[in-house]
């Protein structure tokens, strides 16, 4: 059953240097993360193998190690050996295995390197085992002894140190917002357009993925234009604007709590009534569903995706969209964390069907959609980049089959992966967020003149 570990170099030396104390720490943290639900799941798998084709890693590579049940087995072997023993005599019979350096190597290689925590296998599992949450618990245990692939860990470290995962300075952030506000005013020919910062008592606090500030400012201005069109009372925070939370992926709950706690603090300090999360799949799952658990508290305000908000604007007639302004064929990629794990399934469709003339679904879609391959921290873990691109073939094939010119996705992490797939598999597509597409279809009293930046 055991395959030789093929751990990439960055962590190989660390694994060799693991002490018995380190192994005990891994076990202790793993045990601490497990709850009754997890213990039940870990007693349930029957190795039926029916989950195999639900995983894009297994589909793309055919590797048996990539079968979700095989990845789960790496975790359950340790569970059976250390935390749910049925007697020494039966250990070998039921596949129990003590944690060792070799097994730690396999954990890193498979649980970090062969899983995007997309949750697709759980839907396919005959038993309904929440495999991704068990893999995340194992990642947490590895994080406790510094065994997170360096690229992913440095993303978390940067966010903890600087307040956002790209290390965008406050000065740059404020300059970017001011510039985008100016551009939007020029484009819309409306001097009343405002991109407020730290506006006390604003109804909503809006967040962004820092990649938007660095590389995709159109996403920010698209949201700002929609807010303007809807007459929304909104604000950014000058300090706490990062919707991302790579603590979800490295498994470090403490770091994850610090990151999400900043947004909660910003809402409370500014006296906003609602936290609106930008188009970011894992940012949504983190801040909407997981963060209250990391922080061990309920919030006194709702947390919603901007898609819910914009769909509401359209439904209530607060913004008008003209689909003829987006005549190309569009398709939609459903980010796993937002859709399958987040519950935001129809809002993006509601918006797009009113914002574009020709909308076609990918098959499969919604909660059954395939991961783009960039989730789970894969984009940050450069040591697994080759696998990431290889497994992205499943998504590339889906896109080709849709025969669309524009792929829309409400997630900047997915956008990065789709951009790489576009290049690698020569897909020849444009890639946009939902708000970007909706902003292009906005109908104002006086339509902005063409050709101006924005």
């Amino acid at each position: 059953m055991s395959a030789p570990p093929t751990v990439s170099d960055p962590l190989a030396e660390k694994i060799r240097a693991l002490t018995e104390e380190d192994l005990r720490t891994i076990l202790a943290v793993f045990r601490e993360k497990l709850r009754a639900e997890d213990a039940a799941y870990l007693n349930t798998c029957v190795h039926c193998g029916l989950c195999a084709e639900s995983c894009h890693y297994h589909l793309a590579t055919g590797e048996p190690e990539a079968m979700p049940a095989a990845k789960l087995d790496l975790v359950s072997r340790v569970f059976k050996s250390h935390f749910f023993r049925t007697g020494k005599a039966l250990a070998g019979l039921v596949g129990a295995e003590k944690l060792s350096r070799e097994l730690v190597g396999e954990w890193i290689d498979s649980l970090f390197g062969r899983c995007t925590l997309c949750g697709r296998c759980t839907l396919s599992c005959t038993m309904g085992i929440n495999i991704f949450s068990l893999i995340r618990a194992a990642r947490s245990a590895l994080a406790a002894v510094g065994l997170v692939p360096p690229g992913l860990q440095s993303t978390v470290d940067t966010a903890i140190r600087t307040g956002n995962n790209m290390g965008v300075s406050k000065e740059n952030w404020l300059e970017t917002v001011a510039w985008l506000e100016e551009e939007a005013r020029a484009e819309l020919g409306d001097p009343t357009v405002r991109f407020p910062i730290d506006k006390r008592g604003a109804r909503i606090l809006y967040t962004i993925n820092p990649r938007e500030a660095m590389f995709f400012p159109l996403s920010i201005s698209a949201a700002g234009k929609i807010f303007h069109a809807a007459g929304e009372d909104w604000t950014f925070s000058s300090e706490n604007f990062d919707v991302t939370n790579y603590g979800l992926y490295n498994g470090d709950d403490e770091a994850a709590g610090i990151m999400s706690g900043r947004l909660v603090r910003a809402v409370e300090e500014l006296g906003c009534r609602e936290l609106i999360l930008a188009e970011c799949g894992h940012g949504f799952n983190s801040n909407r569903w997981e963060a209250p658990e990391w922080l061990d508290r309920a919030y006194g305000f709702p947390v919603r995706s901007i898609l819910e908000l914009v769909a509401g604007y359209v439904r209530d007639g607060r913004v008008r969209l003209d689909p003829s302004l987006n005549p190309k064929r569009h398709t939609l990629h459903d980010p796993c964390n937002l859709v399958r794990l987040g519950g935001i399934v129809e809002e993006q469709r509601f918006i797009l069907k009113r914002a574009v003339r020709d909308f076609v679904e990918m098959i499969p879609n919604r909660e059954k959609n395939f991961c783009c391959g960039g989730g789970g921290g894969q984009l940050a873990m450069t040591n697994f980049a080759k696998r990431r691109l290889e497994t992205g073939k499943i998504k590339a094939d889906q896109i080709r089959a849709a025969k669309a010119e524009v792929v829309v996705t409400p997630c900047h992490n997915c956008i990065d992966q789709l951009m790489e797939l576009n290049k690698h598999y020569r897909l020849g597509i444009e890639i946009k967020t939902v708000c970007e597409v909706a902003a292009e279809a906005l109908v104002f009293e006086t339509r902005p003149s063409a050709g101006l930046p924005g």
């Binding site: 029916l50 639900s54 039921v94 038993m127 909407r288 709702p302 947390v303 909660e367």
Partner: protein
């Protein structure tokens, strides 16, 4: 001898039930997850989905893509439940006959055939061998023999002691290996439905082309 075996069947079944219940209770020592986030959907609806529509091939991709295996599994389990019930009835000196006996025989025959088929699949397919530990084979062999002995016992009175002995073995092995999923399946499906129901992912309205 027969009396001992009869009592043995009931004792083993009771022991199995007790141990399986203990295992389920033991998971609670890990503590329940405390949820603070606001629910978006409906847990009960999710659980109903998990045991209903969510098990259907048109809904579950794995079942759809592996329809023969999925169907074999269903029939296998029907055969196992039939054999368990038949063992308990015979041990209670109740001998089904006529149409009822025919149904038992049909279910046990089909259950054995498909169980053996699944065992062969596990042995022959490299991916399945990769995934399997000794318990996967042992559980399957033990249960197949139990179901087969039930079928034989329905024709041959002489096979009844063997059927009872295998029933005792199967009941006693249930909590030790993967057969414990007979309890944990329900536990996990409830958790699955609660998780996706609470988040508003499932159940979704029926749609086409997804």
């Amino acid at each position: 001898m027969m009396t001992t075996l009869r009592y043995g069947v009931f004792a083993a079944a009771a022991a199995s039930l007790g141990l399986l219940s203990f295992l389920v209770l033991r998971t609670l020592t890990f503590g329940r997850r405390r949820l603070h986030s606001q629910a978006r959907g409906n847990r009960a609806g999710g659980v109903a989905y998990a045991f209903g529509r969510g098990m259907m091939p048109w809904e579950k991709e794995s079942a759809r893509k592996h329809l023969p295996t999925y169907a074999a599994g269903m029939i296998y389990h029907a055969g196992i439940f039939a054999a368990i019930l038949y063992a308990l009835l015979l041990a209670a000196s109740v001998s089904p006959d006529g149409a009822v006996l025919a149904v038992f025989r049909a279910l046990m025959a089909a259950g054995f055939a498909f169980g053996a088929g699944l065992l062969l699949k596990r042995i022959l397919k490299p991916a399945m061998r990769y995934l399997s530990c000794p318990d996967d084979y042992l559980s399957n062999v033990l249960v197949d023999l139990f179901v087969l002995s039930g079928l034989l016992a329905s024709f041959l009175r002489a096979a009844v002691p063997v059927f009872f002995a295998l029933a005792v073995l199967t009941f006693l092995y249930m909590p030790l290996g993967k057969i414990r999923h007979c309890f944990f399946f329900f536990y996990s499906r409830i958790l699955f439905g609660s998780y996706f129901g609470r988040r508003g992912v499932l159940p979704h309205p029926p749609r086409r082309g997804a």
